[in-house]
Subunit: 296 residues, 2 copies
């Protein structure tokens, strides 16, 4: 199976599970469930869930067991997009080429959709299968890690600094802060959740963490580069929006060539951290290549 086929297979499993875990549209009050599904099934690449599943496999675990955690992290990611798009935040009308949640359902529902996805994420984690008495302890540990990654030391902290930086010249340190929190924190939580739930030892966990942090950075730098060089059709939003919004990016602070070199270097570090693993980590290796060469 090629990498793209494997990614599509995993996305299929994740979408099927998300469809099962999300309340049906017909559940009262219907509008919130319809609006949750609108944003969850909006064509995301499902990279974070793939990281959860692939980290489980890399340490000899079972992907079915960690599936609720993979879905939980995708719901967290979706909640953050819905709230970031709000008029009071980034005020975005389009996301992946479709109207944003608040443009379709209104601001009040969009706020509640984010709240509901965040809440459901923790419900899914608490519902992870317990096959042995030790499993509850691992689940509690994962919930603590995910809550830490999603909180003001992670995802939310990154968004706060991003908002405060709007229209300002920021330094490299602040740019790093924003991205290690907005992107890095959930990448890190994804691999760590999959690995912890599969009984990873401390050294495996440490290597996978280095992998995730560097993969997250490469992903973000490429995101910034695509905003300059990308194809609008493929990325689903207008190019040049960062420049037009005076947004600090890696190319803006370091120059385009240096930013590309940084993305390659992060990718190499991510791959290097996997030297510790055998063929069971091949998907994680190929994912680095995919992130570095992606066009959307």
């Amino acid at each position: 199976m090629s990498f793209k086929e494997e990614l599509a297979r995993q996305a299929g499993i994740v979408d099927e599970a998300l469809n099962e875990y999300l309340p049906q549209n017909s559940n009262y009050p219907e509008v919130i469930h319809e609006a949750m599904r609108y944003s969850v099934f909006a064509g995301g690449k499902r990279l974070r869930p793939a990281l959860v599943l692939a980290s489980a496999r890399a340490v000899g675990g079972d992907e079915t067991t960690v599936l609720p955690a993979a879905c939980a992290i995708e719901l967290l990611h979706t909640y953050s997009l819905v709230h970031d798009d709000l008029p009071a935040m980034d005020n975005d009308d389009l996301r992946r080429g479709r109207p944003t949640n608040h443009k379709v359902y209104g601001e009040a529902i969009a706020v509640l959709v984010g709240d509901a996805l965040l809440t459901l994420a923790f419900k899914l984690l608490a519902g992870l299968p317990q096959n042995s008495p030790a499993d509850a302890g691992m689940i509690v540990r994962v919930i603590a890690e995910v809550a830490q990654a999603a909180g003001t030391a992670g995802l939310i902290g990154g968004q706060v600094v991003d908002i405060l930086s709007a229209g300002k010249l920021i330094d490299k340190h602040t740019l790093d802060y924003i991205h290690t929190r907005k992107t890095g924190a959930l990448y890190r939580a994804s691999v760590r959740s999959g690995a912890i739930l599969s009984g990873a030892n401390p050294e495996q966990l440490n290597k996978l963490t280095i992998y995730a942090e560097n993969l997250g950075l490469a992903f973000q730098i490429i995101d910034d580069i695509l905003d300059i060089e990308g194809d609008e059709q493929k990325i689903g939003k207008p190019v040049g929006s960062d420049v037009n919004n005076d947004k600090a990016t890696y190319p803006a602070l370091y120059g385009l060539a240096a930013a590309k070199a940084m993305a390659r270097q992060s990718a190499e570090r991510a791959t290097g951290a996997l030297d510790f693993f055998g063929a069971e980590a091949d998907f994680l290796r190929e994912l680095v290549y995919f992130v570095l060469h992606r066009e959307y």
Copy 2:
């Protein structure tokens, strides 16, 4: 110790713990932590945390052990107030006599404050003390219950229906739906969390659940009555706001006298469910009287 002294003692313990669990104002990015503390320390009565502590005591448990759960539920309650007050929702400028979060910190930060409090609530639950191997299992169970109570089948579902009902004539069934979710769900989760974490047996848990559901209903009906008969100084907001906003309330749908009778009946049912317990549930009994006769 009188009931009011006991309530104040518990609020003191909870406030001290909240102060410890909430990130310091000096933690970067400072504004989010300052804004979280602004709403958490806004003079709440701490009834929900008191329910967690008192349920633990009622089943022979230790209040210090369940303190993180008591704080988690207060954070959930606060998050829901901050988001409900937003311009896109109830658009309230005042809460407990002070400007609402978004009036002080702006809408973007207020959205993120709610997100951060919700996230921190789950982090606190995952950090509950594990004194024996069985404790992790109880913690996972409590996280699942709290997530259910806070989600679209609970708190969020109630808020969705409340918003959809604005300016409309709603029936008694819909009014019940809103209040069993907006108030009842967290009351229920409070007593159940305290009891589960203290090793309650199924019958104790069942009785405490009936207690909480009826206490929550009495609380809400009295809230509606205070909006008509209350003292603005004591309740910290203008009276008559429900009538002015065409809001469905128990007095509006049933008449004032019948609403008062319903509150008394719910209070009796709450007290009746405690017949099963001895003096260790006295605080829970006195809390019913307090809720029924409160002036704020």
